[in-house]
Amino acid sequence: MTATLLAALAKLLSGASVRWIDCQPDTCQRVYFANHTSHLDALVVWAALPHEVRMLTRPVAAKDYWEGGRLRRYLATRVFDALLIDRKDIKVHQSPVDLMIREIGETKSLIVFPEGSRGTDGIGEFKSGLYYLSKKRPDLELVPVHIDNLNRVLPRGEFLPVPLLSCISFGPPMWLESGEPKADFLLRAREAVRRLKEV
């Protein structure tokens, strides 16, 4: 109930139009990977999914931001059930990738932002988490997502949003090819996101 309300509010506020390009909404296990532009990203991509898919999808978000303040913590843990990752304290035996694999089980999907932090211009280099995730769970469908204009709705360092219009595009699923080198795969994934901007 709260989740549906929050999703509707997020859609209204971000004026997000949603496009599915060579891709259909599905409840199968997926990893949605998107460019990172704003603190609203995780929330808006999550809200852009249809209800049944949304209920099975957990955004991966930064612990330091979403645990700052009571409202944010409530939203992240109770409403959109985010998987909070500590960016400052990454342990070897408890890597974020292992945590993600453990948390999704056999049913849930994830929303990740492989750039790690928000880029200033264009899409930054992808970190290797997406590669390791895919190597350990090759059955997961990787769906590229492009987020357009949301950085103007809530830019870095601002806390009040300006209700402009944004656009969320979901692209065709991809997988890690067998024997594909890490750098090639990460470049291909980044290109898949970037390409959605031009469609």
Partner: protein
């Protein structure tokens, strides 16, 4: 409100729309009639937008003045979203934009809705004075001086066109017309105004297509010609005069107001085309897919509304002693 004149005006529009829809469907079903399929499609799309506009407006007018003001406020809000989304802004503009959306836009419509109760006509100056100065100062305080005048002017222009100008359309509901006129007269005036803006748009387009030879500004809009402008304006003026019985005017007054609406509507369409050309988009709808271009539909309304409101206050004996 449902007096004979209103019924005649609204009924006439409905009959016309129904006839046009019938013709559009006929042309779609029988493509061998010789008309360009793209033209027929655009005609049908335009008609659908008209039906939508008519039904939304009718619903708002039936519920009451406040609902109409709220409806126009929502349209302004959406149009401003499109305008600012299209316009590149910098981080330093963020706080100013926040207040533009959250404070000035709703406040302008609150002032319009409370027009009858306020002693001083604040709705006339809120945006051109207070918002104008606020935007300059707020952007300056943010500390980013790059292309300062250009950036502030863009925000000011967006707010003026999408919010300030459009808000004078529902303001027509609050004019004190001649004594003896019922409240229905205001509703009819607003309906007449919107009808004339739309009809005049259509007539400009039609005349341009039929006899257009001399393009006015090819770089901005290759489909707008002097023949279209003159023919469209003249025929809209005649049509407006013929509808004088539904307005608070005498035939001459109705013709004058219609002439004004037609010229201003044309200016609005031209101006918005220039902005779109500069930003390299065909219409505001393609900017963010899935969102119909609200701004494309209201450009003529925005330009005509404040001038009609102002001229009516100047030249028509609204408040008799």
């Amino acid at each position: 409100m449902a007096d004979g004149k209103t019924l005649a005006l609204v009924g006439g529009v409905l009959v016309l729309l129904a006839a046009a829809t019938g013709a559009g469907q006929f042309l779609k079903l029988y493509p061998e009639s010789g008309l360009n399929a793209a033209v027929v499609r655009s005609f049908n799309l335009r008609l659908r937008a008209w039906w939508l506009m008519c039904s939304v407006l009718a619903a708002a007018l039936l519920i009451g003045d406040t609902a109409t003001v709220v409806l126009f406020g929502a349209i302004s809000f959406w149009a401003l979203r499109e305008f600012i989304t299209l316009t590149p802004t910098r981080l330093g503009d963020h706080r100013a934009l926040f207040w533009v959306f959250v404070l000035f836009t709703p406040l302008q419509y609150v002032l319009i809705g409370r027009m009858r109760h306020s002693r001083y006509e604040l709705y006339n100056v809120l945006i051109p004075v207070y918002a104008f100065l606020f935007i300059l100062a707020r952007v300056a305080v943010s500390g980013d001086y790059k292309r300062f005048l250009e950036r502030t002017a863009k925000i000011q222009a967006g707010l003026l066109i999408c919010v300030y100008c459009l808000s004078f359309a529902p303001a027509l509901l609050y004019l004190d017309l001649k004594p003896g006129e019922s409240q229905g007269a205001n509703v009819r005036l607003l309906f007449f105004f919107i009808l004339m803006v739309q009809v005049s748009d259509g007539l400009h387009f039609l005349w341009s297509r039929l006899v257009g030879r001399h393009v006015i500004a090819a770089a901005i809009s290759p489909s707008k010609t002097w023949e279209g402008f003159l023919g469209g304006t003249a025929s809209a003026t005649l049509l407006g005069a013929a509808l004088w019985w539904a307005t608070p005017f005498e035939p001459w007054g109705a013709a004058g107001i219609s002439l004004l609406i037609s010229v201003m509507g044309f200016a609005g369409g031209m101006t918005m085309s220039a902005i779109k050309r500069d930003r390299g988009v065909k219409d505001y709808g393609t900017l963010v897919e899935g969102h119909g271009g609200v701004l494309d539909r209201i450009d003529s309304l925005c330009f005509a509304a404040p001038v009609v409101f102002h001229v009516m206050q100047l030249f028509f004996p609204l408040q008799q002693p």
